[in-house]
């Protein structure tokens, strides 16, 4: 099938790395067809590249032999597939109702003041991207947020300061 480019300036597919291809091929064994592996492939690429560029999208499209437009319609659908570069750590900040009742708005302002970014923004030094996320299923510990893979609960301003300094010192 001829892969066509929709709303993309990329003409060259990125050559996927050996690790990326290996992991995608492993997923292929778990599903009856290649289309079903699309999201897994996007996530695998994102794991290694941090985000999914137009060139990566073309690369996956070639490997799986599915139209790039189909893949793009999946990529843009999901909250956690990033089609723009993100910072080294992504903050997924719960903006749903229980956290809102428990004061998430003032935590958001605190982060906003501290990192000088609001939802959708990335710090200038590339440390953090700040994104809203629906209910993280931890409402009895509201307000909550994730930084990378880690969940942080019962947030207070002091706790947020501590969390950020830990991520800083990890680097």
């Amino acid at each position: 099938m001829q892969a066509s480019v929709i709303a993309s300036t990329a003409t060259q597919a990125r050559k996927l790395s050996a690790e990326e291809i290996k992991e995608i091929e492993h997923e292929m064994q778990l599903y009856p067809d290649k289309q079903a592996v699309g999201l897994e492939a996007l996530k695998i690429v994102q794991k290694y590249q941090g985000w999914v560029s137009d060139e990566s999208l073309l690369g996956i499209s070639k490997l799986l032999d599915i139209p790039v437009s189909d893949l793009e319609s999946v990529a843009t659908f999901f909250n956690l597939v990033y089609r723009q570069p993100v910072g080294r750590n992504v903050i997924l900040f719960c903006n749903s109702v229980s956290c809102w009742i428990m004061g998430s708005e003032s935590m958001r302002s605190h982060i906003n003041g501290k990192l000088d970014i609001d939802f959708g923004g990335t710090t200038e030094n590339g440390d953090f991207t700040f994104l809203p996320v629906p209910c993280l299923g931890d409402c009895d510990h509201a307000p909550v947020m994730m930084v990378g893979d880690d969940l942080h609960r019962n947030l207070t301003e002091e706790k947020i300061d501590e969390i950020f300094s830990e991520y800083k010192s990890k680097e």
Binding site: D33, Q35, L39, L80, S98, I101, M102, P134, C135, L151
Partner: protein, 426 residues
Amino acid sequence: MVTKPLTKNIDMSRPPLDIAAYEASDGYQSVKAIADGLTPDNVMQIVKDSGLKGRGGAGFPTGLKWSFVPRGDSAPKQKYFVVNADEMEPGTFKDRLLMEGDPHLLIEGMIIGAYTIQASTAYIFLRGEYKVSEKALKNAIAEAYERGYLGKNIQGTGFDLDIILHTSAGRYICGEETALLNALEGKRANPRAKPPFPQVSGLWGKPTIVNNVETICNLPGILTYGVDWYHGLTKGNDHGTKLFGISGKVKTPGCWELPLGLPIRQLIEEYGGGMRDGLELRAFLPGGGSTDFMLPEHLDLKLDYDEIAKAGSRLATGTMILLDNETCPVGMVGNLMKFFSHESCGFCTPCRDGLPWVDEIFNEFESGCGTDKDLQILHEHVEYLGPGRTFCALAPGATAPLGSGLKYFADDFDRHIKEKRCPYRH
């Protein structure tokens, strides 16, 4: 006697039981019963007799749902059993507890469900953000393969089952069962038209059962301890236990396994510890963000499906969100509308265009610019987005807190208009 079949093995201060410890706690007994000759028809009858209703929101009887799957020699060979672990409804935090706390219980339940409909492949559709659940399930699945509870010819039964863990990437609509099937097939996760129902034509066109995590976790207990025991757990008209949760400004928010039929007041006061000092209960959503508000006058009702329905709401996920007297009800409904608007899949017009409009109006109220005309538009949307007007239940779900909120908090909406500000802001 076991009184908490869903959580008896759960202690969040330690890792979940490994397979040996799980077996020692009556685990995988049902697989032994299958090996000893329990047929799929037997299991179907037991589950029907148990009266188990789906815990994913709709409360549909599980045995009845399973019975729609074609059986016998003329039925398609390939069938699928799918676990809906996409928990994302605001205020809902029960399936995570089960998966993190006792992953083998879910796996045993999946074996029972898949065996009954004779599906040799099962998928767990897991929310991408649930990293701890993912790890717990991966470990447990590996252990179950090692011990011969998964794979070929499970425990000499002649039944084969593979479980595949699929992690999603965050969209509420993927929890709607037909959208979930599209997502698993790698397509954009718009819901599908029904009929055909998934039980007949689901994943890749094959007969498919989709059940909620908590529903499936009920199965091992029912098979191991029997229907009479299951019925004995209950205080009201519905059977079994249920996970109930409370979030909001109570003294001790949390999630507990309790018999269905417990009075709401007891849940909030005994388990939630009552409201924090100085606060009063204003209203509550009984089962997640897409249920109708209920009022303090409803506190003596019992937590069962029919009784909550009589008060105009739904038990749904059983996880309550409490509104106190110092939190703005208009802001709370507005927060929910922002969620539904953001999570609309965009497939049908009333939802795609209506919800962002509703969200925008709540922003106006928040900033003190709301008008009587805006209020009227909100009322109209309760109808435009209601049941029967849209392709799936997401938009009607949004109208539950919206319609009941407009009704119960009319004064608060008026004050926002008259005072040109949110009266709860100091």
